[in-house]
Symmetry: C2
Subunit: 491 residues, 2 copies
């Protein structure tokens, strides 16, 4: 996922069961539910199918894991606009056809790509020590000899903004804010503005480069990259994330009253005229094929890891959920469309400046968006879903109750509010009026790994991946097999 | 710690209490012990002092943590023979004097140093992906254009040794053995021969370079360096450790039947005519000052981390233990000597080839070794001590019972056997006949961090560090304040 973060609301009811007991609870609760449903009146057919989909996914299947394993093993890092991303898209389209999906196609769009070069950092005074850094996405190179300067520390972006114009001339500005671990990722929302806007604010005040304590919750010598923002078509100064232990070291030295000097080097570059692509596949609806439930995730990744949890598992979850629906004896009423977006991670020098895959989709499919009945995006890793947020139109109604009956047994609560932010890729479609749902993943572990070299296949938790597929398959089926108007005003 | 590993014996009684309950147990058991002792005959005065030392350390003090914090913050990485190591030794000597120790001195000795250069690795086929590697210590540079070749995989060093002469010509040999996590570090003992002897065995069969799955238990994109062995004064081919996820990726690609080609680059170099040093300090004995209880740890570190747990905490533990003894109203009967060894991590091209600091000490102090009554070394991190091993001469006697009475309340068991290996630094003295004890640390977490860039101050667990100081202070006192002959045949 990029800077946008889904549902930082803090007032929902928390789910305290340990994920380790979910499976047993699921079995027990599912049994009780079925028994009570059987004892009561007729179980709605559509709900029964959703329950079957859920249980099939929970029982374990290999679609999702095999997808993310092959994607990361065969194509490795997939930075937008480069060969690995293109090859992964070709492979994905082929695999979607082989899985039986309809209307599989690749939709290319132009981008400016960004290539990490050689990069290094060295503490020069008061001691000599190599530092672990990662250039921020879209950050320009340093001069060939590097940037060497004293570091000026700021606890937050707000504190940096208080510095007087010119006061950082000849210095490297550094924001030391530490990301807070939180289940809903609220700590990311709080810290990420430093990454997005810090370089520009530092440049405005004369800084020659920018350093940021990684927006990440781990304690490893691995830096968390991520995009920064273009201003008038450029990022003004070289910008880097430092690993948490390296930021600690600089803070301790500064606290001793030492002047801390650092040398930074990067040969990053831009590639004009590159392209990325969205990959699309469908399970056509049996009654209202023009009505679309849109599932999104992104196929590109940052360049240092292999994009296993960001967002290989997201693509695996929506593909596996749609495949389980595809394999049913009966198709849903509406079409289920899977979009594997390209170029989610990197910003663009020209407006709209955001995730280009999502914009490219919303632009190209503008005429169809009025018939997009619901959309959701999976882009917060591989860990269990603990909450579902639904559009305001259906909160408190029968559809929400049905969702709850199917998802509560696998540990999913109903959010009291609709989603505040549905995700980067589907965002432009949502802005164009498409209603959104959100299946919130537990983000406690996600930001240890997010945007780092550590984002590799071994981090994928298979039981939790299965629970994600279960929730996505069941909810997608319920929405696609219904005639509910998610746009309507609430009852 | 280097290749040598203390006490891989597997038959001792295991301590199952979680460390979190140690403090409560300590208080309860200590109370019971004191009550029963008071109700019985006279408590030996020396044992009472040991109990006080133990409790003072367990109650928390800042000596050890401040030591390792200042050492790692001010001097960072301390590779043997370079400025940071020399400066750290000067600082340590000054600090030991300031703490009140007697006979503080620095004893330099010549070494050949090894300097990591630029290094990189790239997967070339079947996909393009940067790999995370670390040159093994003493490994020669590659040619300037790097080494580019197909990788030949071997599950173990033994399997590599089965390869025919010449069969690896034009290839890069790789050992894929995965280190097993074990409390006593036995997994390290099983895997490390691949690192120490793998490059030589690969070179004998014509390989152009050597790769090793890191000897480490973590799953991060961080490689574990460590020394390899010189043969006839040189390491024949460039040798590198791969991070565990990178080794996984190569194994998965090979399992798909793909030919895996890699490019390796290193500009490592040797520095002839360098020097390292041992730093010595004492608490002189009141009755038998010529008799020495020798406590060892090492001040040098690998170059990518800051040597916090290898072996900053070891030096902190023995200094803090000796300082608590120094601060008592009465000195012990025998002298307590602290040695902070230099150049423990790197091998030397000429015999003795081992840890040069330990050899330099044993050589220089040869005439005193007959009066070294007991020695021990702290070099397995910062986590709690769960077992004490004593020389055969005192097993089953009153001294062992006294040790057990003092250490059992803080979670330390008595090993059934004497130490098999007392450590790299005190090893040469032990070979010369000095009896050794071993305070075994819980190594479950140690090899996640060992020999990596991740070895930084934030990994130090203060409560467990305090428990180490408690055990070292109490045992050292009991040995130094006694007249026990640890060399004598058992009763």
């Amino acid at each position: 996922m990029r800077a946008a973060l889904r549902n930082p609301a803090k007032d929902f009811v928390r789910y305290y069961l340990r994920s380790g007991v979910l499976a047993r609870h699921a079995a027990a609760l599912a049994g009780a539910l079925l028994a009570s449903a059987a004892g009561a009146a007729s179980l709605p057919d559509s709900e029964s199918v959703a329950t079957q989909l859920r249980d099939a996914a929970m029982a374990g299947h290999d679609i999702a894991y095999n997808w993310v394993s092959e994607l990361t093993t065969r194509f490795g890092p997939r930075p937008a606009g480069f060969d690995n991303e293109h090859a992964a898209a070709d492979w994905a389209a082929g695999r979607l056809k082989a899985l039986g999906f309809a209307n599989v196609r690749i939709e290319p769009f132009p981008i400016t790509a960004w290539r990490r070069g050689s990069e290094s950092a060295q503490l020069l005074t008061p001691i000599s020590q190599p530092l672990v850094i990662a250039a921020l996405g879209e950050s320009p190179p340093t001069p060939p000899q590097g940037v060497e300067a004293e570091v000026a520390l700021f606890p937050t972006l707000e504190a940096l903004k208080q510095a007087a114009p010119g006061s950082l001339s000849g210095k490297i500005a550094m924001i030391t804010q530490r990301m807070v671990r939180a289940q809903d990722g609220a700590g990311y929302v709080a810290a990420v503005p430093g990454r997005v806007d810090g370089p520009h604010e530092a440049a405005l005040r004369g800084a020659s480069a920018f350093l940021l304590r990684s927006v990440g919750t781990d304690d490893h010598r691995i830096a968390h990259t991520g995009t920064t923002r273009y201003h008038e078509g450029r990022v003004e100064i070289p910008a880097f994330a430092l690993s948490n232990p390296d930021a600690d070291q600089i803070e301790r030295l500064a606290a001793r009253g030492e002047s801390v000097r650092v040398r930074l080097l990067s040969t990053a570059s831009y590639v004009q005229g590159a392209h990325s692509q969205n990959v699309i596949a469908e399970v056509p609806g049996r009654e209202r094929p023009q009505e679309v439930v849109l599932l999104g995730a992104h196929l590109d990744s940052w360049d240092q890891g292999t994009g296993a949890i960001d967002d290989g598992t997201g693509t695996a979850i929506i593909v596996a959920a749609a495949k389980l629906i595809h394999d049913l004896p009966q198709r849903p009423r509406r079409t289920v469309r899977v979009v594997l977006f390209g170029s989610e991670e990197i910003a663009q020098p020209q407006p709209p400046g955001g995730a280009f895959g999502g914009h490219a989709y919303a632009e190209r499919h503008k005429a169809e968006l009025a018939d997009h009945v619901l959309t959701g995006e999976s882009d917060l890793g591989t860990d269990r879903i603990y909450e579902v947020a639904l559009p305001k139109a259906v909160l408190g109604g029968e559809f929400a109750q049905r969702v709850l009956r199917v998802l509560t047994p696998i540990g999913v609560l109903l959010a009291a509010r609709p989603p505040e932010d549905a995700g980067t890729d589907v965002g432009p479609s949502v802005e164009a009026g498409v209603p959104a749902f959100l299946l919130s993943q537990d983000a406690m572990r996600y930001f240890d790994i997010h945007h780092t070299a550590d984002d590799t296949l071994d981090k994928v938790d298979r039981p939790q991946l299965g629970q994600n597929v279960a929730a996505w398959a069941a909810l997608t089926w319920l929405a696609a097999d219904s005639t509910v108007d998610f746009r309507a005003a609430p009852p």
